[in-house]
Assembly symmetry: C2
Homo-oligomer: 328 residues x 2
């Protein structure tokens, strides 16, 4: 089997290589999967550069989620050859084959799009938890977010719609408006220093109490300045490369709170049953097509350089996926 | 009577003037006080420049707290001529005489230092509420603060000591250490990019969960980077002129929360009885000398330019007070 590997932290294109690894025989109770699809997430890029909040011992295989097909099982009836399963979270998924205890594997709901399912465990729960963990919104209330065209941004639009919340979506490119509107966005505005005024206009002066920030720096500040007094900005990414900040007026005089969200911490703190309930709900929404995010392109393992370069570009149309066996 | 007045927002030294005002006759139930001492607080400077969270209609008389002596009462037995009273909060106190309903006046506890009492309503409650409103600390826990030599910073040191908390005090000048230590500071460190390491050293690696920030910008970030995961930075001032910010590592990976504190909002939201209880407790601590802050100098009303210039300087030894009648 083959795997992407890195032995030092640094510029992603420079540190990854594709290596051959021996196919170890299965232990009793284990299953072997061929990896069908596994995404390149922002957290993978930060892991490669060494900037992520938890880092693996090196050398390591990157990749945290995906979908596989069972090709071999030893002494277990938990799964059968041919079953489509979610790859275990955080298992180093950028490889052709992966081995795991059969009992721990979860099958895809019947009829699920494999590519969409391969992106289920990181961005959809992030969107759902951003919407539910910080402010108890009432149906009809507005939520504000930047980087609205990202995978998380799009899931936020769909999940907010489902919950009856309205969304103001901040983007850098005007031409994204029709696409996000079709997805269910109630308003799309281009980021600028006028953001507070634009938000007031498109919401009819509604008191917006919750904002999601994946940009950092001035991007965070503009969200904070657009919220009603007592509002909360939740920072979950730093696409600008800068930490989040607020204006003194927002922080002190408007009592705006800045929080941070990291899915890894939520997983550490949340009982397994609660996690499973959330994932089951999201799996259902992906299976019935309610939640989906565009795919920019699929790449074989040997195309990892091109795939990473594409994942690091702005102006993408969607997520970059690795399809190590060329079967989806 | 005379008063400091400003008719436009701008550079404090340029916008203030001292004007004569007529002594209006008292209405029934009113008392007239001569103003003995009234401080120049940072919020007064921000009001003059027009940067404060609430601004008066112009022209206006600045000044929000102080101590006066009753010199005339009409048809009331609530106070008597000669009584020492707190000036009503937010009443435009930078003047020689002030009129107010006698029933609303609160007398100083016997034996209270007039200068110390004149600074009671803004900085001491700020310090107490910073310590009590955000994180429920256990005795023996550490609190971290910058601008530790400010009036609020010193009250924090004393009130933390009283509650059994330990303080790490961040200053810009090494030579402040002995004075703050004498006041009860458990550790004094000079601000630098090494702050997280210095805090770890002086606390013996304790998990510090709460920090107070009066600096903004990188100053806030250094506090955030010094806290244990899940900690809270409360921003209540912006001496650097910059809004507060956090590193992405602190915000996302360490779950650090940034809050803002503004006494005015607390007063709007808190029942009168609760406010009175806090002020009574603080008045007692000022009367018995537990809480005190140094005075840099006292100035007559006509010296308002010098007083403001001094209040705007760094490296002061204490608070600047106006003593409009030259009697303390």
């Amino acid at each position: 089997m083959k795997a992407v590997r890195f032995s030092t932290f640094g510029q992603p294109l420079k540190v990854v290589e594709v290596v051959e690894e021996p196919d170890a025989p299965l232990q009793p109770g284990e299953a072997r999967m061929e990896v069908l699809a596994t995404p390149i997430n922002p957290s993978d890029l930060l892991t490669l550069t060494g900037q992520y909040g938890q880092l693996p011992k090196l050398p390591a295989v990157p990749g945290n989620e995906g979908v596989g097909r069972v090709v071999e099982v030893k002494d277990s009836t938990a799964v059968r050859v041919g079953d489509l399963v979610f790859l275990p979270l955080g298992s180093g998924t950028w490889r052709t084959h992966l081995t795991a205890p059969a009992e721990a594997l979860v099958q895809l709901p019947p009829g699920t799009d494999v590519k969409q399912a391969s992106m289920m465990f990181i961005n959809p729960p992030t969107a759902e938890l951003l919407l539910k963990q910080y402010v108890t919104l009432q149906p009809g209330e507005w939520v504000l977010q930047n980087a609205a065209n990202s995978a998380v941004g799009r899931y936020v639009i769909s999940l907010a719609k489902l919950a009856g919340y309205k969304t103001v979506n901040v983007v850098r490119r005007e031409e994204l408006a029709p696409e996000l509107t079709a997805l269910g966005a109630d308003a799309v505005v281009v980021d600028s220093d006028n953001l507070p005024e634009r938000v007031r206009e498109v919401t009819g002066g509604a008191k917006v109490r919750l904002a999601f920030d994946a940009v950092g720096g001035d991007g965070t500040q503009r969200l904070g300045d657009s919220l009603a007094p007592g509002g909360v900005v939740v920072n979950y990414g730093v696409m600008s490369g800068k930490g989040p900040k607020l204006s003194a007026a927002a922080s002190i005089f408007k009592d705006i709170t800045l929080r941070g969200f990291w899915l890894v911490l939520w997983m550490k703190r949340t009982p397994r049953e609660e996690q499973r309930a959330l994932f089951a709900r999201l799996a259902g929404l992906i299976a019935n097509g309610t939640l989906r995010t565009p795919v920019e392109g699929t790449f074989p393992l040997e195309g990892i350089q091109d795939a990473l370069a594409r994942a690091m570009e702005g102006g993408r149309a969607g997520k970059v996926l690795l399809t190590p066996n060329g079967k989806v």
